[in-house]
Each structure stands twice: as C-alpha cells, then as structure tokens.
C-alpha cells in the first residue's frame, strides 16, 4: 500500500516521536531503542524515562483497551516499566524489536490481570469495536506516523474475513483463550486455532514492511513532505 503524499512531517531517520519528559530524558530522544535499553541496564533512570516517553502511550492505550478500568491500566503500565527497570537485560534483540517486546509484555500483563480479576471482566472486544473509532486524544506532538500506523493496522484488520477478525480481536483485545473463543462463537476449538493462524498470517502480509519500521522513512513506498523517502 502506498502511503498518501504529504501526510507526514517526520524528518528522515527520526526516531518515533515521544511525549516530552525531563530535560535529561529529552537529551536521549535521538538514541535508538537498543541504546536506551543498554543505558537502563546500566542504571540510568533518564533512559527509562525516554523509553516511557516513546512507548508509554502505546502501552497505556493497549492496557486500557483490554482492562477498561483506567486505574488497572495504570497499574499494568507501571508494572511493565518497573520490570523493564529491574531487568532490562531480559530483552533479547535476536527475538524481535524492543517495541514488540514491550508491547507483548504489556499485553501479557493486561490479559493476566483480566483473567485474574473476575470483577474486571467487562471485556469486551466486539469484533467491530475498532471500526471507525476516533482517537480520544489527538496530540499535536503525536507523530503523523502513529496515526498512519493506526490506519494501516485497522485497514489490515478490516480485510480479514469476519471469522478470522473475530478470533483475533477476541483473543488480543478481549483476553479470551482459544477454548473460550470456541465457546463464545460456538465453533470447534480446532477451527478457532486455524482461524487465528490464517488471520495472523494475513495480517503479517498486509502489514509487510510496517512491523520493523521505526520511522516513516523505513516504510516501503513512504513519502515525506510530498517527496519519496
């Protein structure tokens, strides 16, 4: 998919935009994720803050989506970043990007909390819950890249056959296990598993190039300020 011209204002080679933090954290804004993680391993709290500024919103947005409750979502994010602080060396670059590692940890903890706290079970991820939703906090500082990515991911989800999309959204955003999804949808467990596999493979194909891109300039066919990246 070719990105529309002129939709981005990102500077080539820039790292993802992040919320402003302390001056010291801002000074680290140009460092890549691995560099910041290395500094966290060395005990640099400013590096942790820089990573929070970079990914905190994504983590909180995801946690809030899954947990619904704002306080639970805050607790989840706090726990994630404390784990990062205490054991940043857990991150293994050979197993994927830092962002996916952090998001995966957030997702796991949020799903764990949902499954543990029966009283918080307001989940629900109706398959169409993501359709047409507007961001509730468009930020001037939010890189157009983030908006673009959101659109691409939502588009990719929409292209999935309904049963596959349903399986993915119930699992990822609802925190349901495959067996629970089978029960909810009155579908054999094996079929649920197959739908998840097929759906994820289609998502991967649809998001090809997006997953490992950290800036707009990394995305195939991206345009910056009207010019090819």
């Amino acid at each position: 998919m070719t990105l529309p011209r002129g939709r981005t204002g990102a500077t080539p080679g820039a790292v993802p935009a992040q919320a402003p933090g302390s001056q010291a954290a801002d000074a680290l804004a140009g460092m890549d994720d691995r560099g910041l993680v290395a500094r966290v391993c060395e005990g640099d709290g400013h590096a942790l803050e820089a990573l929070y500024g970079r990914y905190g919103r994504a983590c909180f947005s995801l946690a809030r989506r899954i947990l619904v409750d704002e306080q639970f979502a805050q607790d989840c994010v706090q726990e994630v970043f404390l784990v990062l602080w205490r054991d940043a060396s857990r991150y293994d670059p050979s197993k994927g990007s830092f962002s996916s590692w952090l998001i995966a940890m957030t997702h796991h903890k949020a799903v764990d909390a949902v499954r543990r706290e029966e009283t918080v079970r307001k989940r629900r991820a109706a398959p169409d819950a993501l359709d047409g939703a507007e961001s509730d906090a468009p930020s001037v500082d939010d890189a157009a890249w983030s908006t673009l990515r959101q659109e691409r991911v939502r588009e990719a989800l929409k292209t999935l056959p309904a049963p596959q999309r349903e399986a993915l959204t119930l699992a990822y955003f609802g925190g349901y296990t495959q067996r629970e999804i089978a029960g909810l949808t009155d579908t054999p467990l094996g079929t649920v598993k197959t739908r998840m596999l097929a759906g994820m493979q289609r998502m991967k194909a649809g998001l090809d190039g997006l997953s490992r891109a950290s800036t707009v300039s990394d995305v195939p066919g991206a345009f910056l300020n009207g010019e090819p990246a």
């Binding site: 805050q74 602080w85 994927g96 990007s97 957030t106 764990d112």
Partner: protein
Amino acid sequence: MTAHDRYLELVYGHALSSLEPEDEQALVAHLPACAECSRALVEARETAGQLAYAVDTAELPPGLFASIRESVLAESPDAFELTPAAPVERQAVAKVVSIESARRRRLETRASKIVAVAASVSVAAIVGLGAWNVSLQRDSSKQGHYSQAIGAALAVMKAETGQTVALKAADGSVTAVAVMHTNGSMDLVTDGLAPNAKNSRYVLWGQSGIEPAVPLGDFDVDQARVDTVPAVASSSIASERPQRLLISKESGTAGKTPLPGENVAPTGPIYAQGETT
C-alpha cells in the same frame, strides 16, 4: 494438517496470549528444538505487536511516570542523578543462592552470598520463548495461577517428584513456588519478588497449626525475575512437614538473619504464603 502445523498454530496462539495451559506447555517444550517455529514466533510477535496500535490512543495519566519514578528511586536512589553523558557501571548479575552452602559457610566464616548460575541458565534454556515472555498457566492443583516461567523452571527441577506449593502475595498473584521433595529437601522458584537491599534477606518459614513459624532457609533476590533457590531447606531443619510456608524479608546480612531452626518469629513483612495441604 501435519504434526508440525499444529505447533505453528500454537505459535500464533501464543503471540495472541490465548493458548490453554497444556498448549502453552507443549509449545515451550517444542521450541528449543525447532528453529522454524522459533523464527515463526519472532514474526508472530511482531505482527501481534502491531495490533496494539489499532486501539484508540489514550492520553497518558499525568502522574503515571511520577509513580514509576518513585518506585525506581526506592530501589535505586541515584537512578536519576546521572546525566545522559555519564553512564553508570552497574553489575546486573543473576544470582542464585544455595542455602545449604550459605548455611555451612555462615557457620564457619559468616561470609556473604554464593553465586550459582547453573539453575538460572537452565531456566533460561527451558523457557524457549525467551525468559521475558510470561503468560499464565493454571496450576493443576488449582492452587492458583503461576507464570509460565515458573512452570518451566519447575520442569527443570523435576517438580513432579515432589509436592509443589504456590506462595501467593496479598493480591493473589503467585510469586514463588516451593517444591517439597519426598526426601525432605525443598527447592524454591521465585518470580517477581523485589530485589532486597544489602542489609536484608528473604527468609522462608514453615508453620504448623498454631505453632510459631520456624525459619527454614534464607535467600537473596537480585533481580525481579524467575530465580531458583535449590535446597532452600532440608528435612534436618523441620521435624515435620509444615502446613504453611511463608516468605518474609528480614533485616540483617547473611548470617545475621534468622538461622534455619532458630527459635525466632518473622519480624519483617510477609511477601507471600501458601498452604502445603
């Protein structure tokens, strides 16, 4: 579907955190020997990670990082004193304490901790998904949910030869699992206990009925990750199998916290406890 296709399905189910415990275990056991599935898992995680960006973007609560910062400072008072140009040299060493050795040394020389990494290395190897990947697994004895990383460590320790006891924190989360072997020895796997300061140690206590708790062994936690404490206690310490296990944090360095068998009571906060029956 081939037998291997089944594992591929499990890979994507795992990336979505939707596997049943038995499927999670099957995948953990399969991954170390399958490069194809390991590669697929990396891709699956990246794809799943993108799903997170489909949700509505929320404003970060104003005080959230302040809370994180406060917790960090409680553990590392100088964490924010450095300028970005002045890196800190901090040794992040995973340590496992062999309580039996420490007890012997304590009796002889009152030395401090022993570093033993074999158990933690085996934990990392068994958790083929990466030591950082944690999801829930139901305890077959229905004692509670404990992490997959703990489950993997238990597999290494051949927990099936003993009784596992889940020790839970106040919020109900399982932060440690004790393995009580038939020969009277006890191992401990912890996950998530906060690192203790140099002037304190964690103590494992055993209690029966209304009798006072008896210290069984003590250990350090350097990092809040899965850690194993082999032989944290032995049958020579407790005259009978305790009905309850507790973990507290006591002030004092190695050799100065309650010694196994000493007639003392916990004075520090209780971080986890569990029933053995």
